[in-house]
């Protein structure tokens, strides 16, 4: 791949994300333009070229309803469907296709003042576009893509030392924060390693080794070897010998490296034990030094995947059994594989569909899957930002660290229940229960909950139920002293509908504050800027969604009035549909199941793979979404389809940069 095509790839990826966040540009599409390196396709390449078999349907609709504004004469917004249909006979740019599908299906276009198409016309156009889109996706060559080697992030480090050594002191809390890419901290490309972090690794390794060995020495006489993670010998405490050290090293090293260790590697590690002994240290000091060395090794700190295509960068290959086990365990547990998973890797059964399904089910039921809720959920929903949320203490004296933690815990428990009970992912949007403790119940106005422990409670769906009614989400989408319908609207588009709007234009025209009645509500002021056409094109989509949540205050408490006036939580969507309050908003969102399924799939796949999605991932995403729908949106189906998807199983080689 040359630099130019790399840049175009990035540009394409960015474009995809920006235009609608949902569309995948087809390779070789017109947007890429001249000079794009052709990518070999194995599908029916002709499907993506030449006029669409549905060209008549499209041209008919466009000429009747669109050409006046978006044709050869006028190109409002830069769109010219007439030339497009007359030259290509199809829409090749799938981002544009997504855009057309969205604005027509939601009634945004044609605008209300123009004659409206009959419902049958709309259906026919959407069917035609969908058919074209499927053909275009089918024409994309399967490509697993390539994941950059991943360093353990902070949560993975903590969980891994817990499972490897039984150390639960969360040592990585002292590490610098991990950078995020594509919204997640699992992205190999952005997980950098600074000298500062290397220093911390060394210090942490020393502390962890001491803690692990000291703890096991203390329980040695009272415990069986199988319950110890480091001191695995069976003999009495006084009888430790070099042979015992050998055994410890033979068992611990492969667990630390998450794969069998070579003889040479074992010898290297043994050298540390010997170094301590030669310096007059004790057996335990020697074992501590061994543990320290393992914890700083690149084989521990990084999830190294062996490059099998150095000679042939175009080659794609299945990752090896152990690498696959780690891909599974770090995805579902943010931690190392356990013995059972390692056994499946060792005998290769990990690739058998039935074993894989059983393992996924087992892993999702395991308490360690709480990390998926906390890590993926915390980042997808952005509730991790609760840690730095800063509500105005004068307005919200009840917001203390207890409430802050309770908010996060509600969402974690709720997410956890969807995993553990294998519920429909649509429950994220609306559910009839949630989890509260006393401070949170007080915020929600739920009576009879006492104490810091959480309870599952039924809720009135008009007020609560689903993530949109959770204080965590509502707080991180607010400013310190007020709500922000814009932030909340953007949040819904990005997190639920995979339709993050483009950023505001650089020359945002100032709100003509003078023309707005100073006694106007914030909502009225905000609505004023939608009189400006260049604002309205996005804010007509954003603001109504946010208005629907206005009954929730800046920290998520229910309110009927704000600033002395009744809250107006009604909204008008671009297609003219109206709703009032969060209950009706949720119903409207639930009508867009497929958008939500794709949104969640894209986010989860990004998180699990550790890289941003590219054009060539479209078939994988489409397949996962399809299976998810077939399986009643069950959470386990989403996970199972991801882990058996092409990009999750395989890796592509990488050419040398010349």
């Amino acid at each position: 791949m040359n630099i130019q095509s790399m840049q175009e790839g990035i540009w394409r990826g960015r474009r995809r994300r920006w235009v609608t966040g949902v569309g995948f540009l087809v390779l070789g599409a017109t947007l890429v333009g001249e000079g794009c390196q052709s990518v070999p396709t194995t599908g029916d390449a002709s499907a993506a070229k030449g006029a669409s078999p549905n060209a008549d349907v499209m041209a008919g609709f466009f000429s009747t309803h669109c050409y006046d504004c978006h044709g050869a004469e006028r190109q409002k917004g830069g769109y010219d469907f007439q030339t497009l249909m007359e030259t290509d006979g199809r829409i090749t740019d799938t981002a544009l296709m997504e855009l057309v599908m969205r604005v027509v299906s939601t009634g945004e276009m044609p605008p209300g003042k123009r004659p409206q198409p009959e419902p049958e016309e709309v259906t026919a156009l959407l069917d035609a576009l969908r058919h074209d889109q499927e053909m275009q996706i089918a024409a994309i060559a399967p490509d697993p893509g390539r994941v950059t080697v991943r360093r353990l992030n902070r949560m993975e480090y903590n969980n891994t030392v817990r499972d490897l050594l039984g150390v639960e002191s969360q040592p990585s809390d002292a590490f610098p924060p991990d950078d995020t890419g594509y919204g997640f901290d699992t992205i190999g490309d952005v997980l950098t390693l600074s000298p500062l972090l290397a220093e911390k690794y060394l210090d942490a390794a020393e502390g962890i080794a001491k803690e692990a060995v000291t703890r096991e020495v203390a329980i040695y006489d009272k415990s069986m070897a199988m319950h110890r993670k480091v001191l695995v010998c069976n003999h009495a405490r006084e009888a430790h010998t070099e042979r015992c050290a050998d055994r410890i090293i033979r068992e611990l090293t492969p667990r630390a490296y998450r794969r069998p260790a070579t003889r040479e590697e074992l010898d290297q590690i043994r050298g540390f034990y010997q170094l301590a002994i030669d310096n007059g240290d004790t057996f335990y000091d020697g074992i501590e030094l061994v543990v320290q060395a393992l914890l700083v090794s690149p084989h521990f700190l990084f999830r190294i995947e062996e490059e099998k295509a150095l000679e042939d960068p175009e080659h794609e290959y299945r990752v090896n059994n152990y690498e696959y086990a780690s891909r599974l365990s770090y995805f579902l547990w943010s931690s190392m594989p356990d013995d059972e998973l390692m056994a499946c890797a060792q005998d290769g059964t990990i690739w058998h569909p039935r074993t894989l399904r059983d393992q996924v089910r087992r892993m999702l039921r395991d308490p360690r899957a709480a990390s998926l809720a906390e890590s993926f959920g915390g980042q997808w929903l952005e509730i991790r930002n609760l840690a730095v949320a800063d509500p105005d203490p004068e307005k919200f004296p009840e917001f203390d660290d207890g409430l802050r933690l309770a908010m996060a815990e509600e969402t974690n428990l709720f997410f956890g229940s969807i995993i553990a009970e294998d519920r429909s992912v649509l429950d994220f949007i609306d559910a009839d229960y949630t989890y509260v403790n006393e401070p949170l119940a007080a915020l929600y106005g739920i009576d009879g909950i006492v104490g810091p422990a959480f309870q599952r409670v039924p809720v009135n769906r008009e007020e609560r139920g689903g993530i949109l009614g959770q204080a965590s989400v509502l707080t991180v989408t607010s400013y310190p002293a007020r709500t922000s319908p814009v932030l909340r609207g953007v949040w819904i588009l990005d997190k639920i509908l995979a339709a993050e709007p483009p950023p505001p234009p650089p020359d945002v025209p100032a709100l003509e504050e003078a023309q707005v009645d100073p006694t106007a509500t914030f909502r009225e002021k905000l609505e004023a800027h939608r009189d400006n056409a260049s604002c309205a094109s996005c804010h007509d989509r954003i603001d109504p969604l946010g208005f629907g949540l206005e009954n929730y205050g800046p920290i998520g408490g229910w309110r009927a009035d704000a600033d002395g006036k009744p809250v107006d939580s009604s909204g008008v969507l671009p297609d003219g549909r109206t709703f009032a309050g969060p209950g009706e908003l949720k119903k409207i969102l639930l009508e867009r199941k497929t958008d939500f399924a794709r949104c969640l799939t894209e986010k989860m796949l990004t998180y699990g793979l550790g890289r941003g999605l590219e054009d060539y991932d479209a078939p994988a995403v489409a397949a996962i979404v399809g299976e998810l729908e077939k399986n009643d949106y069950r959470f386990s189906a989403l996970i199972y389809e991801i882990v058996r998807s092409l990009p999750f199983r395989k890796q592509r080689g990488e050419p040398e940069v010349s």
Binding site: I10, G13, R14, R17, R146, T148, P176, P177, D179, T180, G181, Y182, F184, D185, D189, V190, T192, L193, S194, A198, L202, A205, E206, D267, Q268, G271, L275, A276, D278, N279, L289, A293, V296, P298, L301, F302, I304, A309, L310, Q379, E382, R384, N385, A387, V388, D390, D392, Y479, P480, A481, P502, P503, P504, P505, P506, D507, L511, G612, E654, V657
Partner: protein, 455 residues
């Protein structure tokens, strides 16, 4: 003791042979300055470079002096600098035009911080292929850092946002760092003052006996040798991108190895050290001043000669309740002409300046060789945005403090030609520290007028 050292080397070598590795001894050159600390050897005080960043721009009406030259009055925001007025230059019309969109659309905040010390238009990406340019502090650190335990220190009072997007389409890496070690490696700051202090003064090792300390150093050295060897072996088995990751690891480990060979207690004795709490203070002023104190300590003990400090993450939405500002900083910065918001922003700008003034006052009152620490330093203070409301990257708010051992003649307000690249200033700075550089980002030559002769 000497016995132990002999034994140490023997053991280490034996150990390496046992691993069957043909090891070079990369530590030898680093050991020389450790044995005779640079602080003791030097006769002339070195020049220190510092860079302090403030996010979201400032209210320029309260910043830019009316008059040019030496006879100017400090405007509202700069008033706290009264005590060091003769030691600073207010530099007007410097620009970072590479922070403009240039076809990349939104994301002015991310670009502002990424460009500030690099002068390079950053690659717009959410994750893959993060790229800007090597920053001026890191070019200087490569040169000056050879003599000190840390090539540079990066500090912040607002560590990265925890999740979500920091600025449309840009990875948070761009907003969280102004320092870039290489064009692909941002250098985010440490936000925990205690951790900085421990780094400088021995941390967990400081309670150990000299013998135990020495043994610990030996063991750590062996571990580092081992992992370096492992990482080198891995290099041959990886593709180009993964190799780059492994190079990052190798570099980081080598830096730790080098620090290990410097005696961390070298010149710390007898210095007044701040009382450093276990976690960051809640009060902003207290927190920022502590971070400034730590920079002074690091300069004084010559553990580093280059520091960068972010007084807030770019795009920060912190509520400065310490000065009775309830709205978030970024939220307010889009003030749309609202006078109350502008007043609040000025309060924030001035509050930041009060902390910076504390730093400069202390630098001025800290003896260093034949003058003060401030005499032997050059500290840049500024933002990559001038007007936060419109995201303007021209006519940036910039202060240059200190004399760089006589190379700079402060005490003036200098108005440069419109849109003079800020990177030009960095060429001057690099020349003053003996590291002349032809180009940095969009530089087109060094700044005139900074030295006495040309004023």
């Amino acid at each position: 003791m000497s016995n132990f050292l002999t034994k140490r080397h023997l053991n280490r070598r034996t150990f390496l042979q046992g691993m069957g590795a043909a090891m070079s001894l990369p530590l030898l050159d680093a050991m020389v300055p450790a044995a005779a600390s640079a602080a003791q050897q030097r006769t002339v005080a070195p020049i220190r470079l510092g860079f302090t960043y403030v996010p979201n721009g400032v209210i320029m009406e309260g910043w830019t002096p009316a008059a040019e030259g030496a006879a100017y009055e400090l405007p509202h925001i700069l008033k706290p600098l009264a005590g060091v007025k003769d030691d600073i230059i207010v530099a007007t019309e410097l620009a970072q035009l590479n922070a403009r969109a240039l076809g990349d659309g939104g994301g002015d905040h991310a670009r502002a911080s990424a460009v500030f010390l690099t002068g390079v238009h950053p690659n717009k990406t959410d994750g893959a292929d993060i790229r800007a340019g090597q920053s001026v502090d890191q070019i200087a650190a490569e040169h000056l850092g050879r003599q000190t335990r840390f090539p540079s220190l990066e500090l912040t009072v607002e560590p990265g946002k925890l999740t979500g997007s920091c600025d449309t389409g840009y990875s948070c890496a761009y907003s969280n760092s102004i320092s870039w070690r290489t064009e692909t490696t941002p250098n985010p700051g440490e936000g925990n003052p205690r951790a900085v202090f421990d780094r400088l003064f021995g941390g967990t090792a400081k309670d150990l006996s000299p013998e135990a300390r020495e043994k610990r150093r030996q063991y750590r050295g062996s571990i580092l040798d081992f992992v370096l060897e492992d990482a080198r072996k891995l290099q041959g088995q990886l593709g180009p991108t993964d190799r780059r990751k492994m190079e990052e690891y190798l570099y980081a480990i080598r830096m730790v190895e080098r620090q290990l060979e410097h005696n961390e207690q070298q010149t710390a004795a007898g210095l007044e050290k701040p009382d450093v709490p276990e976690s960051a203070p809640e009060d902003y002023a207290e927190y920022a001043r502590l971070m400034f104190d730590l920079q002074i300590l690091a300069y004084q003990t010559d553990q580093t000669r280059v520091t960068t400090f972010m007084m807030g993450r770019e795009g920060s939405n912190r509520a400065y309740r310490e000065v009775d500002v309830k709205g978030g900083h970024h939220e307010l910065s889009h003030h749309l002409g609202d006078t109350a918001k502008i007043a609040s922003l000025q309060d924030i700008n001035r509050y930041h300046m009060e902390q910076f003034a504390y730093f400069l006052d202390r630098m001025k009152n800290t003896e260093d060789g034949d003058g003060s620490l401030l005499d032997h330093s050059l500290i840049v203070y500024g933002s990559g945005i001038s007007d936060g409301n419109s995201h303007n990257h021209a006519n940036l708010p910039v202060l240059i403090a200190g004399r760089a051992s006589g190379a700079v003649a402060p005490g003036r307000h200098i108005k440069f030609a419109k849109d003079t690249p800020m990177a030009n200033l960095y060429l001057n700075m690099l020349e003053y520290v003996g590291c002349p550089t032809e180009n940095l980002g969009d530089s087109d030559g060094k700044l005139n007028y900074l030295g006495e002769m040309s004023a």
